[in-house]
């Protein structure tokens, strides 16, 4: 009555395995789409974000009328797209009189909406309008630096949330080994007021300095915009806990009884359990010296042990 369905081709199998949940996750993919109406600036913003994340983003070009992220029923389409494209981040742009140049950045957990943050875009400056030396242009897929300036990012709820979302959106894959030659971009976010953040993308130039550490120079290249936080929805407490779970295998085990000493280097303590040399049963009992044995038997067991130790 139950039939086992397996993919018919190896390629399909590989795709399914890529999408399966893993202990250590790959980088998150982003879905960029827009709603019923968009303005020119919003179109430019969406295309620029797509170009910044060309490697791991999917951009939909048609308009989607039935997506309303903040309403309870309007998320089903988003969840379906997230499932189909295997994207766990989405950027939804729309424009209306009440909320002009609106961007909703959201994250999904297990293809269900985890949290949302709605921001308005003002003073947008696109990549093409910045003039810079073309040799500095950052490559696609390079790991960026981040700088978050402002006390708002610590105190204000919404800005904290926005910081987390921006970090998630632009950071790329988590790597354990980094090639220092490939560092070329920086995202600078400044909390100008309690609901406004200046976001700008700069290229990095490393200049020779005396020491191993090069001198850092930032050149504004990319899009820069003012983000005004409008609404946001924080995740459920339970869901948040579940999403932040770290698998048991990845928690680094504390090495016990090992310490480092400046002089001796690595020192370890070994605890040896009490061996009880006397009462251990030996595999070979010397059967020679019969007379001594006879005598020992007559005198008692203790004497026998004493003689053996002396040997």
């Amino acid at each position: 009555m139950l039939r086992i369905k397996t993919p018919k081709s190896l390629r399909a199998k590989r795709e399914l395995e890529k999408r399966a949940p893993k202990l250590v996750e790959r980088g998150k993919k982003t879905l960029i789409l827009h709603g019923t109406k968009t303005s020119n600036t919003l179109n430019a913003v969406l295309t620029e974000i797509y170009h910044l994340k060309k490697d791991n983003a999917v951009k939909y070009s048609r308009r989607n009328d039935n997506i309303r992220p903040f309403e309870s029923g309007g998320e089903t389409s988003l969840e379906f797209y997230s499932l189909k494209t295997d994207c766990s981040l989405f950027v939804y742009g729309s424009h209306s009189k009440k909320r002009p140049d609106n961007l909703v950045i959201g994250r999904t957990y297990d293809h269900h909406i985890y949290d949302l943050v709605e921001i308005g875009v003002e003073n947008f400056k696109s990549m093409s309008s910045c003039s810079y030396d073309k040799k500095l242009a950052p490559l696609i897929g390079s790991k960026p630096f981040f700088a978050f300036i402002g006390e708002g990012f610590e105190n204000v709820e919404e800005l904290k949330h926005l910081k987390e979302v921006l970090l998630d959106l632009f950071r790329g894959q988590v790597v354990s080994n980094l090639n220092l030659a490939g560092l070329d971009r920086v995202y600078v976010c400044t909390a100008v007021s309690s609901n406004k953040v200046l976001f700008t993308h700069c290229a990095l130039r490393l200049k020779k300095s005396g020491t191993v550490v090069p001198r850092v120079e930032l050149v504004e290249v990319g899009p820069s915009m003012d983000l005004v936080v409008r609404r946001h929805r924080l995740p459920d407490e339970g869901l948040k806990k579940e999403a932040h779970k770290v698998p048991h295998e990845l928690i680094k085990k504390k090495e016990k009884n090992v310490s480092k000493d400046a002089i001796a280097g690595k020192i370890g303590k070994i605890y040896v359990p009490d061996q009880q040399v006397g009462s251990a049963s030996l595999p070979f009992t010397p059967k020679g010296v019969k007379r001594e044995r006879r005598e020992a038997k007559a005198k008692g067991e203790d004497k026998k042990h004493a003689e053996k130790k002396q040997k």
């Binding site: 970090l167 090639n179 220092l180 932040h244």
Partner: protein
């Protein structure tokens, strides 16, 4: 402006939580410049920490082992659940059977060459055995080759059953392997085995209409959903004649009473005249007559002669018109 940068090396991030914009510069460009300048300081701090890590030389540049990120960001998918042990694994554990790695090639004594352990041209292929020696335990009438084949089939089926069982156990826990799906081929058997018939749109509409008209008001005041068509017969099934109407050919009262009377008469009279049938019979007969070219006397039954109905002329007209069409 106590600048105490928090650095998250895993994410290459620097936080400055103490900076305050006491006075915003009016010009946007100045503001941007100030932000970038500040950003540079922060990034310099991160770069300091980064370049001081022990690096190994690689073809494309120095490679540095990054520590894991300190800001916790949520996962995108739930943690994979550990697979429950399969039936074989449980048995092997109990018995202490270790998994021995076997070679792909096995030496075949018969041909003196290395053959595969399984697959095309394998060692000890079941189909290649020409002679099977009879054992004392064998029954006389049993075909040993067929027996081997059926044994193998049984073994394969048993293995499939076990595989399905293992997958079901895994699916219960939620640890089904990512490329496998379990699909139900048939509905579970309940009392009767009839599968529910799929009802079509028209049928549903009919049933809805019937339910509506069975109400006292004939379904007139029922709230209709969007997309539901108006009922075919809107009012109740009653027809009243108009109060004032003249007599004559079209008068409804006369027609109504005529209808009733004719029915009554027809019931009581033993002659029931089927006009259509009579016409057809006549036509068939006349055709036959014409074909055979025999002066067949039209055996006009009494039925035909006794024509009291007012449709006499009509019946006469019909055969002639048919004749003309020929």
């Amino acid at each position: 402006m106590g600048e105490e940068h928090q650095i998250d090396l895993g994410n290459l991030t620097a936080f400055d939580p103490h900076h305050q914009f006491s006075s915003l510069p009016d010009n946007r460009e100045d503001l941007v410049k100030e932000c970038i300048a500040h950003g540079t300081k922060l990034i310099q701090a991160v770069a300091d920490a980064l370049f001081n890590l022990p690096s190994t030389e690689d073809a494309s540049g120095p490679v540095v082992p990054l520590p894991p990120p300190s800001t916790k960001l949520p996962r995108e998918k739930p943690l994979p659940k550990p697979k429950p042990p399969t039936k074989w694994e449980l048995f092997a554990k109990k018995k202490g059977i270790q998994n021995k790695k076997r070679d792909k090639l096995v030496f075949d004594e018969q041909t003196g060459s290395w053959k595969r352990r399984y697959g095309y041209d394998r060692v000890n292929d079941d189909n290649d055995i020409p002679i099977i020696e009879a054992k004392m335990t064998d029954e006389p009438g049993v075909d040993p080759f067929a027996k081997r084949r059926s044994d193998k089939k049984e073994r394969v089926n048993k293995q499939e059953k076990n595989r399905l069982y293992n997958l079901k156990e895994a699916a219960k826990v939620g640890a089904l392997p990512s490329h496998v799906q379990l699909a139900a081929t048939a509905l579970p058997i309940t009392g009767t085995q009839t599968a529910p018939r799929k009802v079509s749109k028209d049928e549903l509409q009919n049933v809805a209409g019937m339910a509506a008209t069975s109400t006292a008001s004939g379904g007139k005041f029922d709230k209709k959903l969007a997309g539901e068509k108006p009922p075919k017969h809107e009012k109740k099934y009653r027809k009243f004649l108009p109060v004032v109407e003249g007599s004559g050919m079209g008068s409804l009262e006369k027609q109504q009473s005529d209808k009733i009377l004719n029915k009554l008469m027809a019931k009581n009279s033993h002659e029931i005249f089927n006009v259509g049938k009579a016409v057809d019979m006549y036509n068939a007969k006349s055709d036959k007559k014409r074909r055979n070219q025999q002066g067949k006397s039209s055996s006009t039954s009494s039925k035909l002669k006794v024509k009291k109905s007012p449709y006499k002329n009509a019946s006469k007209k019909k055969p002639t018109s048919k004749g003309k069409s020929k």
